[in-house]
Amino acid sequence: MPVIWLYYTNKESGGRIPVMVEWDWNVFKLKQAITSQLGRVPNKLIFLGKEIDNKTKLRDLHMIEFSTLYCVLATNTMPRVNNTKLRVYGSLSPSLPSRGYDIQMPMSAGPLDPSGIHVELEGEYYVPMTSHWDKGSEGVFDFSFRRYVADSDTVSEVSEHIYEHLGEFSLHTSQISYETMKSKRRYFSVFCRDVCNTITRGKLLVRCWNCKSNHFTLSCDPSCWNDVTGDVITGSCVSCKCEGIRAEFYFNCINHPQQESIATPLKQVKMNERSVECIICAESPDRLMVFECTSLHATCLPCFTEYVRVNLVSRLFRYESSVGYSLGCPAGCPNSLITDAEHFRVVGDELYERLHKFAAEEFVLAEGGVLCPAVGCGEGVIPGTKDRLITCEACCHMFCRKCMDRAHFGVCERSLSVRGGVAGVNLKGSAIRSSWRFGGDGRDRSEESQDWKESSNIKSCPGCNAPVERDGGCSHITCSVGVCQLEWCWLCEKEWNLECREDHWFD
């Protein structure tokens, strides 16, 4: 039998005990086991900051061996009714129409206190005498009621088996939610950084913001991202000394819930509940990456990964000061840049690193800075506006800001339109095309750069010096470096002008 850990607490004491369980058990059965082991009645079982009801099977909680449950013990052995309502469908008598009634029952107490259950029905209410809950999870149970008539003081005792009348007595709501949970369980998507290194299913966990104890009950369930990310949900910390009232939510990867790992939530990865098709491959997967454009375009995760990869290696991300260096909807919609860079982790560590490198470069250039052109350096420098000669703080290389060449005296003849100059050839760890893998290893690449210079289909952008490869097409080039975007002529290697257009557009 698998074992789980049970942390228990009440006003006076607390502790931890191992409990042997079966995954097929429901919570009620678990409570019975706890009762027999502790000699105390569990009042509430708390899982993920939420009280779990008796019908829930342990399997559906995705528990694994040595999972942890929190348990609040009742102060007295007979817990009183709490007002958890369950809707019961079916009529209590064959003569009455079949309709819903509220049955009040102490969810946590189960069979321990049948007096907590009563059914109200048009001036009459029923209180159970005995009950047998062994079929509990199936929603069919058998108990006899004592019948009270409200409008008279006379109490006629009717001991009858309600379920004989009904034939079928089902806990409708809980059954439905139980089934839908089984077929299409909703879950959060997270990026598991430490172990899986991929997008996985996330487990939402809650702890006390104050003492970080998981002994915490929520006042209400979170229902949206704001609830989870903001400090809006309250509750109470059950830990003996702590008075914490604010909930702190965090995520864990479902594949290894016991490990302390970083799993960052991916807000834009959502459950595909309406069978929406990926706009790229037209598949309809369980999960989608949803963009924040007005059309809410969505792609499947493999297509998203490839989309990010292709655009990253081609340096086609866009830099916007409010969002940073990011990518928008693949249909090209405006205002659709991904705001949380965690989503880009799907491309793997190496490319993700490169993304940060590009982003840093774009930032430096956008701020009017320059990137050191020394071989193997590429350090960002944000110099004063008047300085022409700049010394890199990282490698002490001194260079001319205007031509990005070695420092020289006199007036500089050459001027790049983007002062910063992505000195691509010398830039550490940078790549404009995927096939050009600059190591970032500090190795001297002057030989390689010589090869490029000789290759006729590679030239430097006259605006920012970034190497550009032309693979067919016309001579009208638009630089893809975010801050540059210069339109220039492949033949003249100057800014695109009317003459180029009329004379050698497609030579």
Partner: protein
Amino acid sequence: MASLAIQRVKREFKEVVTSSEAENSQIKLEMVAENLKHLQGEIKGPPDTPFEGATFILDILIPDSYPFNPPKVKFATKIWHPNISSATGAICLDILKDQWAAAMTLRTVLLSIQALLASAEPDDPQDAVVAKQYKETPEIYHMTAKFWAEFFAGGNPSSYSADLRQKVKSLCDMGIQSLDAVRALSHYNWDATTAVESIFS
């Protein structure tokens, strides 16, 4: 070729074949190589343009990174249009360059190119000579475009086509290839003398 590219091309193939435009034989798509990487498209010249009645073959290459990068499309059929190179068939169309989006398909590409034939944008030209002619002498442009459509793409003959054919023939008689003859004559607004001079100089 990436599996996604293959999957996409297959689906888009189907989309084109079953489209209403294909039914009206406005567009067509065929395979050249079995690997779906090299395709051949066909579009009909739109009505009320010099290209009416003509059929243009497009050469389509699908990159491995499709659909994240655009397909490479050029005209295999010679055409006289400001946004298409009369020499190489290269097309100047934003969606085939930086305005490409992964959600676009070969059908939308074919239809966009067909739309380009109906509305030229001479301010963003691919072929400077054609663009100049389009702007300065629109009648000659119209005549030339129609003649090219007839000569190379099976377009409807026009009243002046016999006259132009005669000019081409006279150049061919001097030992000039017919394509060079047509190109030179079109370039010099059908002035035979200048055209011949340009070829022999």
